[in-house]
Amino acid sequence: MRAFTTLKGLAAPMDRPNVDTDLIIPKQFLKSIKRTGFGENAFDELRYLDEGEPGKDNSNRPVNPDFPLNFARYQGASVLLARENFGCGSSREHAPWALDEYGFRAIIAPSFADIFFNNCFKNAILPIVLDEKDVETLFAQMYAQEGYSIEVDLPEQVVRTPEGQTFSFDIDAFRKHCLLNGLDDIGITMQSSDDIKAYEQARAQRAPWLFAS
């Protein structure tokens, strides 16, 4: 996995609560058997004015001029500012794959849905939870200032504004370790193979019907 240490990038808005993963990447694109190719269809139904289909040439599609991520000022953004319960609904990991390929490396919101939050860490995207009022502050500053960029410092666990204002955030030690070092957690778990085997043997004693086949 790609490592995540610090990031300084243009911020862009997804200014509505309860953004579900169907909205991040609609189901027709889930028919792919690959991990890549989703970025062009991130937020497809908001981004374009027609219905997207896998394999369709997106360069010819009518673009929604009212969707903020289509505004010139937000092109090249890598930090997404979002509202509460971001990523709710389906467990599809295609959602973080799409956001990653679009270019987002960090998402800041007052809250995230559990499965999406988890999926982000598996893809080197950092989901950052800040207080609602702090997220509001960032939104207001971003709207007021074109080219507004945010610095994310994972080792220090802070978000820094261009004026140097900082907001600290929490992260589990293990997740931080994996992100900083770009570690694949299957490899780490494999180091506990003996523990897993021992557990399994004990479980087979207690619940033999689970191992009957």
Partner: protein
């Protein structure tokens, strides 16, 4: 000994190793796999030259992409018209064949929606940890199991290690006390709960559903309720084991037999929250307050009793919520203050992992028996949750009731719940749907979903608009 909740017991029983930061390695007893979220996991395994840790813990079946018309189903995988869907189903077959994984293939009688097949075959059992790359895996918690949806990277992790890295959630108890009114269903109960606590109300929690209503509820009703725990934000929902659970499980294909049954039953009887166990949050509803529900917005928390009116954004003071309401009504093509019974439906979908079990099919059939679909409704389809459900319904003659009512009887699969196959809404169409999500575009580009019970969906099919199904049930006990 400290009193434990059901979730505490299931969690503690599956810890392989505990880490300092509170996360743990949790052993997974059952891994259910479908075609949409697994191909990249199998590919990852292959690239890393890894093998599944325990093949006999895995059960696979295709459900999201499978067509539901007999014509398109006749030729199996090769008959799937959409080439991308066909490749995805074929890829699942190939992966399972290569690794020796048990799969109920497209036209196997046991094929169906993963969350219907799991409990129905006894592949999902009380006391298990169960995962699947699908958020509605919370369904199986109804059996007294810890059952959660996971992402594709985690699917690969579980395939490779039989474990999940997880952090313990908090405990929430949702209790509904008293007795449900006649004509009020498990679907109405769970929609009312989501309406009360919101779609993020359960985030970070495992929810146990307790109280008189769930104690009296059938296993299929409990499966419906736990299915939608994720719609309240909770990755896992569950109900304590009791006689209803054991009666349901006993005799199923993969359920323990003979001596094993006796040991299992003894262990499973312990799967209840201890007296005095601590819940971090308790939510209580009165059964008598719950009436048939209809969602009117684009999030499952945007739901009201059928007798209510669509809310007015001007009554909302929070600016973010006000804007959210306005956007939802705009998308749904509804007027603020409009009566819910004035919403006309273009299509009706009875099915999905929420409501496609035999009791759901029976309940819908009961409503439409001897009646005809309204001409204004373009299409009404009933999609059984599995081949087993379909066969049972046909044995009872329920298919004939629907066909006589001009309602289509289809082959099993996820179908119009998320429209990955050919069953979808047209732009701007309203649908009375027994599924679980009313998100924008969920059932088709520009489609407008209203979540309801099977009874309410059947009633809407007959009347052409929403109606309190209890008005059609007069004269029944």
């Amino acid at each position: 000994m400290t009193a434990k909740t059901l979730y505490d017991k299931l969690w503690d029983d599956h810890i392989v190793t505990q880490r300092d930061d509170g996360s743990a390695l949790i052993y997974i007893d059952r891994h259910i796999v479908h075609e949409v979220t697994s191909p990249q996991a199998f590919e990852g395994l292959r690239l890393a030259k890894r093998k599944p840790w325990r093949v006999d813990s895995i059960l696979a079946t295709p459900d999201h992409n499978v067509p539901t018309t007999q014509k398109e189903r006749a030729d199996g995988v090769s008959g799937i018209a959409d080439p991308t869907s066909r490749i995805q189903v074929q890829t699942l077959d190939d992966n399972c064949d290569e690794l020796g994984i048990l799969e109920f293939k497209i036209n196997d009688k046991r094929q169906g929606i993963v969350h219907v097949v799991g409990p129905e075959t006894g592949a999902c059992l009380p006391g298990m940890t169960i995962v699947c790359g699908d958020s509605h895996t919370s369904t199986n918690g109804a059996l007294g199991a810890l059952s959660m949806g996971i992402g594709t990277s985690e699917v690969e992790h579980v395939l490779a290690t039989q474990c999940l890295v997880a952090k313990k959630m908090q405990n929430m108890l949702v209790q509904v006390n008293g007795k449900l009114l006649h004509g009020v269903t498990p679907k109405d109960v769970v929609l009312a709960i989501i309406g009360k606590i919101g779609t993020a109300g359960g985030t970070g929690y495992a929810i146990e559903f307790g109280g008189d209503v769930f104690k009296a509820m059938s296993m299929e009703g409990r499966l419906t309720v736990c299915n939608m725990a994720i719609e309240a934000g909770a990755r896992a929902g569950m109900v304590a084991v009791d006689d209803i659970t054991l009666d349901y499980v006993k005799g199923r294909t993969f359920a323990p037999k003979g001596e094993h049954w006796d040991i299992a039953e003894k262990a499973w009887r312990e799967l209840t929250s201890d007296e005095g166990a601590h819940f971090d949050k308790v939510v209580t509803l009165d059964a008598a307050d719950i009436t048939p529900q209809v969602s009117w917005g684009t999030s499952p928390e945007m739901v009201s009793p059928v007798s209510a009116n669509v809310p007015n954004p001007d009554d909302e003071t929070d600016p973010v919520k006000k804007e959210g309401l306005r956007r939802a009504l705009d998308y749904m093509g509804l007027q603020a203050g409009q009566a819910i019974t004035d919403i006309h439906v273009d299509r009706v979908f009875i099915g999905s992992c929420t409501n496609s079990r035999i009791e759901d099919i029976r309940a819908a059939a009961q409503v439409v028996k001897g009646l005809r679909k309204a001409d204004s409704v373009k299409e009404a389809i009933v999609v059984p949750g599995s081949g087993e459900v379909k066969a049972q319904a046909e044995k009872e003659g329920l298919d004939k009731i629907f066909i006589d009512a001009n309602i289509e009887w289809r082959e099993p699969g996820c179908s119009m719940c998320l429209a990955m196959n050919a069953d979808k809404l047209g732009d701007g169409e309203h649908c009375a749907s027994t599924s679980n999500r009313n998100f924008e575009g969920r059932q088709g580009y520009g489609g407008r979903t209203h979540l309801v019970s099977p009874e309410m969906a059947a009633a809407a099919a007959i009347k052409g608009h929403f109606v309190d199904v209890r008005e059609m049930m007069k004269g029944e006990a």
